[in-house]
Amino acid sequence: MDKKSLKGWLYLLPAIVFLGLFMVYPLVDVVIYSVEEGYNFASQSFFGYGRYNFSYVLRDPYFLQAVKNTLILVVITVPLSTGIALLISLGLNSIKPLKDLFQTIYFLPYVTNTLAVGLVFMILFKKTNYTDGFVNLIIQWFGGSSIDFIEGPYAAKMFVMCFYTIWVVMPFKILILTSALASVNPDYYKAARVDGTSRFRIFTRITLPMISPMIFYLVITGFIGAFKAYSDEVAIFGTDLNSAGMNTIVGYVYDMLYGDSGGYPSYASAAALILFVIILTITCINLLVSKRKR
């Protein structure tokens, strides 16, 4: 190899070493793990190769519960958070005084430790012997009866989970959408005004088509992010998500690997690959849909 090439590779070496060890090798390895049946972590031995790990995972009620939880989370939070973020961004872009202040405030959740603030949400929603909790008091004030959001019915727990997830993902979406809206050439709006276009029509015929690539981007990243949800759930329901019935797919992978029920890297790998396939499929479908539209 000539000297010039050597230098290039030398500069790349650290990156290649780290990526090779912690990205490429694990990628291959995870596939191998997933087909090794009866792998024992302590003795590092296994019986043989096959699809058993996948069929075990797919029959595991905990996994099915995790898939169900994750799907509900995705279906509720992605459209809802994108919609609300769009609404707020439209509002932000139509005002002048206080705009910067609002923008800064809205961004705050992005820089917080989600584990820490999740704890605050848990306390706001939790019903204990001492107090029904802040949220329940509001519900009572409106004439409802209090619910235990943290250890109570499934729907209530799901509500908290979705609410917190939306709270956490909102800053990014608002930021992206406000800058997308601000980058639309103001001449379009002036031209529309001269032509007497109604607000609704300006929104549907001009604004929406102009920012649709960004909305599309947010929906995809939103899907992927929501499918990988885990730490927000831990923040609210604690580390034992299975017994709370609020586990997610990533949480299941994690528990299989190392939680209280851990020590099964093969099952974990199988579940992780299933997750990967789901994410990949959704991304591909999205890409196809967007291509056909254009």
Binding site: L12, T128, L273
Partner: protein, 288 residues
């Protein structure tokens, strides 16, 4: 004339209602965002007994106390978690910068055989979610005997293909002439990189640094996998530990004090650099 006046008056009235509704909406969301922060600050200065005696929690307190903050640093090892996170964040970010700057420079400026192929391979790695590789990394680190060490925490978090990509794009915008001029003057590549490239591309480097610091400060899954010794906990794991085992289960004011302490560093960072951070995230952020 009269009809013009009317058109005008309705237009102005509509405009006013619209603006009022907009502001109400924005204020409501502002409250939703700020309320948890207010609540944790408030609770953290209430005494244990007064918090527990309020069946209907008060939205203010007349006798604030700092006792909870004292407890947070003495009753649980919050200081330790803090220090661990600091070390983890600084070392990881520093190492990452070194690695990605060199790699981005190689892709942007140096010519070598197999460059394009390597870059394509790098890009394809962006598709791989971390969740897929942490299983093997867990096994690798365990086998190397690096569980419950700083090294075990840091090593897998060092590289980011996305940041290499971001930096490379920026490096390529620096005009070729500068490089040629430096070469004519006999400047070495390394010197050129540090004296010319990095100063010109400082905004991107700062963006990447800030994003990585936020990521490190909030990282939870990997540290939890790799540490079960409290001595090596980061703040995220620390707060989880405090929730489950610290303070006695119901000492919520002390818990909130810990939460405040954990949140403060990033908040301060944000308030100082909020323009830069928001700009950086809109260019290179992915959380959401």
């Amino acid at each position: 004339m009269a009809s013009y006046e009317k058109i005008n008056r309705t237009a102005r009235r509509n405009e006013k209602t619209r603006l009022t509704i907009t502001y109400i909406l924005l204020v409501i969301w502002g409250l939703v965002v700020l309320f948890p922060f207010y609540w944790m600050l408030l609770t953290s200065v209430k005494t244990y007994s007064s918090y527990n005696s309020e069946y209907v929690p008060k939205l203010y307190t007349l006798s604030p106390t700092l006792q909870n903050y004292k407890d947070a640093f003495t009753a649980v090892s919050l200081g330790r978690y803090f220090l661990n996170t600091l070390i983890f964040t600084v070392v990881t970010t520093g190492l990452m910068l070194a690695v990605i700057v060199l790699a981005a420079y190689a892709f942007a400026r140096l010519n070598f055989r197999g460059k394009n192929l390597t870059f394509t391979l790098f890009l394809s790695l962006m598709m791989i979610p971390n969740e897929l590789v942490f299983i093997t990394n867990f096994v690798t680190i365990t086998n190397w005997g690096l569980r419950n060490t700083y090294l075990g925490l840091i090593l897998p978090s060092v590289t980011s293909v996305f940041y290499i990509y971001l930096l490379k794009e920026n490096f390529e915008q620096v005009p070729d002439e500068l490089y040629k001029a430096a070469k004519v003057d006999g400047t070495s590549d390394l010197k050129y990189l540090f004296r010319v490239m990095l100063p010109i591309c400082r905004p991107t480097v700062v963006t990447v640094t800030i994003l990585k610091v936020i990521e490190c400060w909030n990282s939870y899954v990997w540290p939890r996998l790799i540490t079960d010794d409290e001595k090596y906990f980061l703040v995220s794991n620390g707060i989880q530990e405090i929730r489950e085992n610290g303070f006695g289960r119901e000492n919520i004011p002390a818990m909130m004090a810990a939460v405040v302490v954990i949140s403060v560093p990033l908040m301060v960072l944000f308030l100082v650099f909020h323009k830069k951070i928001m700009e950086g995230v809109s260019r290179g952020g992915t959380k959401g």
